[in-house]
């Protein structure tokens, strides 16, 4: 927890309140850059000067990356201000992941030096004709005299023209198996000008200043030392890397949705209507309370999925898929719902305090598209759900005190350093997080100082969740995936599972980290609201969530169960 607060304080002190129009990393400037479609180089340089890149390099390589939760906080602090800047900067993290997973000591050393020197790294994964179908990759790397010749195009690549280095996913065989692909680190400086052509920036719906472009390799000579890991291991390395990068995407969503809700709440508080303020209208209360609940769900699932990278890395194949599928769409929907609060102002892009809302709306849509769309993540999850269901059916009451779950969900515990060797392509046979539901009733009954009403609400919700889980488990075991493609109903069931996962996270977060939560969250009403929402029911009473929201906004803190003061709290924000 202290680490997160320390990062927050340093970052926010450096970059000031985003409400100040003069600051480079402000809403106003981000909107101006967006309208002009300008790459945010000056802000990126400032983040580098501040030391942002060091969080992308493991500590044993001279950087600061040891706890993934630090990245959660940093990425969302950036994203709350400007998602364009965030993806333009953090692409280096995504681009370098393969090296940390499978690189040689020398490759890691070189990559660390490049990143710490502020050199941007991109990830050349997708292709124009194949999109997310990695098995159809056509970009070819043919072995030639102890080196490789790279031929083919990568398209819709973040930072393709801005980057100095690119991790390229290329075909090294055509046997029709998962061993047909390899990963290479390509340095543009080492290529001749005829060996590659850049495709200019493609105009996009949102993140308009980002460099979403492409690159074409033409007999580009790449040395053997550029191969990451073994030849033919590219897909495996990539899939492991995606387990991390998908999780990082949820931090983007957490940041953007925090800003959207902060703006909507601020507007509602100050907007006179019908002789009161907008905040007083029942329908607005309902929207804001639901949004606040969603923001907490997004935060907690994202945060603890990041912590899982350290604590249960072998489970990340399902954790990352669930987190991305569950969080990114929920955050997107929340922003859409909040446009109803802002009304006409959600549509106007001026230099007023809410002018950037339209940018948030456009930008946030990209998160559920890249690094594996929602459908892809649900598909990946569906492959593994039957095994997890079998475990639960065989072991209805697994370990009552799973020490690793306590470590995961106690935000004050510092976990072992991130170990890139511990990621697995497939989960072990159980989902430890969802499995906590079997013992959570007892845990709730042992909580001190919980009102009888909240305790009862939580227990009722837990019963419903367990019933739903059992139904999903039975259905999935009775309806195995036949052929290559699941039905829409399979996807609906997978989504339901994701909601149950989110509920388990919220419950364990309260049980293990309650002692450091903000005082407005000690009573557990927020948890009851989250579970209600995840069960797709209406909130009976919006006031507890409105209270949590109101305090966070007034006190200039992140809208969170924890107390995370932002720059808005230690400077006067102009209105």
């Amino acid at each position: 927890m202290n680490r997160l607060l320390e990062i927050t304080h340093r970052f926010e002190t450096r970059f000031l309140s985003p409400v100040f129009p003069e600051a480079d990393f402000s809403f106003q400037k981000s909107l101006e850059r967006d309208h002009a479609g300008v790459f945010p180089q000056s802000v990126i340089s400032q983040i580098n000067e501040w030391g942002g890149c060091s969080y992308y390099v493991p500590t044993h390589q001279g950087g600061r990356l040891s706890q993934a939760q630090d990245l959660f906080q940093l990425l969302r602090l950036m994203a709350r201000r400007d998602l364009t800047v965030t993806i333009a900067h953090a692409i280096t993290l995504l681009g370098s992941m393969g090296i940390w997973i499978a690189g040689t000591p020398l490759q890691k050393k070189d990559m660390a030096a490049a990143i710490l020197d502020g050199k941007p790294v991109a990830l050349g994964l997708t292709e124009r004709l194949h999109g997310s179908d990695l098995m159809a990759t056509a970009c070819l790397a043919t072995a030639s005299n102890g080196a490789y010749l790279l031929n083919g195009e990568k398209y819709l690549i973040n930072n393709a023209t801005q980057c100095a280095l690119m991790t390229v996913f290329a075909r090294t065989a055509a046997l029709g198996t998962g061993r047909d692909f390899s990963l290479f680190t390509v340095s543009k400086a080492e290529l001749g000008s005829r060996e590659y052509r850049e495709h200019p920036k493609i105009r996009t719906h949102g993140v308009k200043g980002a460099d979403i472009s492409g690159i074409q390799f033409v007999n580009a000579l790449v040395s053997e030392t550029a191969l990451i890991g073994k030849q033919g291991h590219g897909l495996e390395i990539m899939l492991k890397g995606l387990q991390l990068t998908r999780t990082f995407c949820t931090a983007f969503s957490s940041g953007v949705v925090d800003t959207a809700l902060r703006m909507a709440a601020d507007f509602a508080r100050h907007r006179p209507i019908y002789g009161k303020t907008l905040w007083d209208l029942p329908i607005i209360k309902k929207i804001l309370a639901q949004a606040a609940t969603d923001v907490l769900i997004v935060e907690l699932v994202s945060l603890f999925s990041h912590r899982a990278i350290n604590v249960i890395p072998e489970q990340m194949s399902i954790v990352s898929a669930i987190a991305k599928a569950a969080v990114c769409v929920r955050a997107e929907q929340t922003v859409e719902d909040l446009s109803d609060v802002l009304g006409a102002r959600s549509y106007l892009e001026d230099d007023g305090p809410y002018g950037v809302f339209g940018k948030l709306r456009r930008d946030i849509r990209i998160i559920s598209i890249f690094d594996g769309s929602t459908v892809i993540n649900l598909h990946a999850l569906l492959q593994q759900l039957p095994q997890l269901a079998k475990f639960r059916q065989r072991t209805p009451s697994p370990d009552a005190n799973d020490a690793r779950m306590s470590e995961l969900f106690n935000i004050e515990s510092t976990s072992a350093e991130l170990d890139f060797d511990r990621f697995r392509l497939a989960n072990s046979n159980r989902d430890r997080i969802v499995d906590t539901l079997s013992g959570v009733s007892d845990q709730i009954s042992r909580l001190n100082g919980l009102s009888a009403m909240v305790a009862e609400q939580l227990q009722t919700a837990v019963t419903k969740l367990k019933t739903k889980l059992a139904e999903i488990d039975s259905w999935l075991l009775a309806q195995p995936l036949s052929g290559r493609h699941p039905t829409k109903f399979h996807f609906d069931q997978a989504l339901q599972y994701c909601r149950i996962f989110c509920a388990a996270v919220c419950l364990q977060a309260f049980i293990e980290s309650r002692h450091v939560m903000h005082h407005s969250c000690q009573d557990g009403f927020w948890l009851s609201a989250c579970l209600t929402r995840l069960l797709d029911l209406d909130l009976e009473n919006p006031e507890p969530m409105l209270n949590v929201l109101d305090l966070a906004v007034k006190e200039g803190r992140m809208i969170s169960v924890f107390s995370m003061p932002l720059a808005e709290s230690f400077q006067d924000a102009t209105r």
Partner: protein, 552 residues
């Protein structure tokens, strides 16, 4: 040209005229400029005449026909449609309700010249709270002095006249404002146009505003009586709320067609995107949503003529449910398109523009949420009232292609006073379904299924009637949703029962599928479409979209 012929003509223009090309529309959006060539083509085709009632020498026969013409105009580009004609339509509703013969004559004359008319209700400081609006019209000798601002007004700088909502009383109540029809060509002294607003979508719309400083306008500008502004506005909104959602279906239809074409040609995972079961299910469901929305909006536009006293709740219901379902459909389409729905180029480049433009529908004359509140406020009393016996003859006119008219503005009411006549029509279902069985239009198994569905809907309506429906109850949103979904079900089944002989009628299978979907929404459970029906829908979608024809 008749409305039907005009709609066909416009769709032909969309396919053949370069000014309606995707590239051209996207370029206009990027440059934030009006599509003048398109305007000329549509003016030549006589589109503006469809805002002038037949009795006044125009082509406007009834609201349903108008809705279908406007739907065609907006089908590729709602932003263009808004700037070209929808704003003028919104102004027109005020003239129909409150304009005197001279004002209506001036309005018609402007339309015939291809001029635009703006509508200025909105003040940024007050939004939907019309009674708080501050722009004032002070009575003086021979007229009024205007002072104040209206903001976020489409076409303010381009219009030849404006319908203006101004304060003529000091109180905060429904008698404090009046409506004015103000000539802008030339701009009156003391009137200036505000600078242009940049917007998230509808970028080709020229959105500015007015500032009046001691601006004199003659008495002849007053529409209706002093203090009658709110009453007129309430009635005018009933018309726009009932019609605009149906207008918006054209662009959703177009987005669906675009996605089908993309899916059929994009290769992924050893086949095409359209081979993926999830994609087929999503596209088929969106088709059903469109069918349902189409039947509901046709019915609501017919009700303007047949049940005008009910339009306060019917209009709000329409504007509540249709934009919600259509936004959901557009988001589902974007999951199918993936990255192709995020770039501004290529065969799907128009999609992200459609996604940005569509929400503008909810900005004019009340969002879905505001409409939810309007329905909520009236729902309790409406459901408690005992309905009169449904007249099958009248009911059949609601659901058939509407041929009667004209609009009778005096029959509109500020609030709905009667029991819900359309929900009451469900009483006729057992008899009507049996008639269809006996007449051979239904097989026995279809009859059994439809009878069961009809029974479920009727029970759900009865359940609604006994619920505690207070406007501020915590579950009121859920109840309004149920009410709207029930209306969707009634519209779909009644459309089949009463209009099955028409060219545009739906098959029994599609109606059964659509009702199944509504039932799943009502019970908040996932919907599983019958695979045989899904197959037929996909074939239909392919056939239509490959010819760039509308799917509904």
């Amino acid at each position: 040209m008749s409305p039907a012929e005009l709609a066909i003509h416009i769709r032909r223009l969309h396919k053949t005229s370069s000014c309606f090309d995707d590239t051209s529309l996207l370029a206009d959006d990027e440059a934030m400029r009006l599509n003048e060539p398109a305007k000329r083509l549509l003016d030549e085709a006589g589109v503006p005449l469809h805002l002038i009632p037949v009795a006044e020498g125009g082509q406007l026969s009834n609201m349903q026909n108008l809705m279908l013409v406007l739907r065609a105009v907006c089908a590729k580009d709602m932003s263009f449609g808004l700037g070209y004609i929808l704003t003028t339509f919104m102004a027109a509703t005020n003239l129909w309700i409150a304009g005197n013969p001279i004002q209506r004559d001036m309005f018609s004359s402007l339309l015939r010249q291809g001029k635009k008319i703006a509508i200025a209700y909105h003040e940024l400081a007050h939004g939907n709270d019309l009674n708080a609006n501050e722009l004032t019209a002070q009575v003086v000798q021979g007229g009024f002095i205007l002072n104040g601002r209206k903001e976020v007004i489409n076409n303010a700088a381009l219009a030849s006249a404006v319908v203006l909502y101004a304060r003529t009383g000091e109180t905060y109540d429904t008698a404090s404002h009046s409506l004015f029809f103000v000539w802008l060509d030339p701009l009156p002294i003391g009137c200036r146009i505000l600078s242009r607003f940049r917007t998230h979508g509808a970028r080709t719309c020229h959105i500015t505003g007015f500032e009046f400083s001691n601006c004199f306008v003659p008495s002849a500008c007053l529409m209706g009586n002093i203090g009658s502004g709110f009453t007129h506005a309430s009635k005018a909104f009933q018309l726009t709320r009932a019609v605009l959602p149906g207008v918006s279906l054209g662009v959703v239809d177009h987005a669906l067609g675009m996605t089908v074409r993309y899916s059929a040609t994009r290769k992924l995972y050893g086949g095409t995107v359209l081979d993926i079961p999830y994609v087929r299910a999503v596209l088929a469901e969106i088709f059903l949503e469109l069918c349902i929305a189409d039947r509901l909006t046709r019915a609501m536009s017919a009700c303007i003529h047949l049940f005008p006293a009910q339009m306060s709740v019917y209009g709000a219901l329409c504007k509540y449910i249709v934009p919600r379902r259509m936004m959901h459909a557009l988001r589902q389409l974007s999951t199918v398109l993936g990255a192709a729905g995020y770039v501004c180029t290529g065969t799907t480049g128009l999609f992200e523009k459609i996604l940005r433009d569509y929400p503008v529908l909810s900005l004019g004359h009340a969002s879905s949420r505001t409409c939810e509140a309007i329905v909520a406020a009236q729902l309790g009393p409406i459901l408690k009232r005992q309905p009169s016996e449904p007249d099958p003859n009248v009911i059949s006119h609601v659901y058939r292609t509407f041929e009667a008219g004209p609009l009778e503005p005096r029959a509109l009411r500020v609030a709905s006073m009667q029991a819900d006549p359309l929900l009451a029509s469900t009483k006729l279902w057992p008899e009507k379904l049996r008639e269809r069985l006996n007449g051979g239009q239904l097989k026995q198994n279809q009859f059994v299924l439809l009878n069961e569905i009809a029974g479920n809907l009727t029970s759900a309506i009865e359940d609604l009637k006994v619920m505690e429906i207070g406007a501020n109850a915590p579950h009121i949103g859920h109840i309004v949703e149920r009410y709207a979904l029930l209306h969707c079900g009634v519209a779909l089944l009644n459309a089949w029962i009463y209009a099955e002989h028409e060219e545009t009628s739906l098959s029994c299978e599609i109606v059964t599928g659509g009702l199944g979907m509504i039932d799943a929404h009502l019970h908040r459970r996932p919907f599983v479409l019958d695979l045989g029906l899904e197959e037929k829908i996909i074939s239909h979608l392919l056939a239509k979209s490959m010819n760039s024809e509308p799917v509904i």
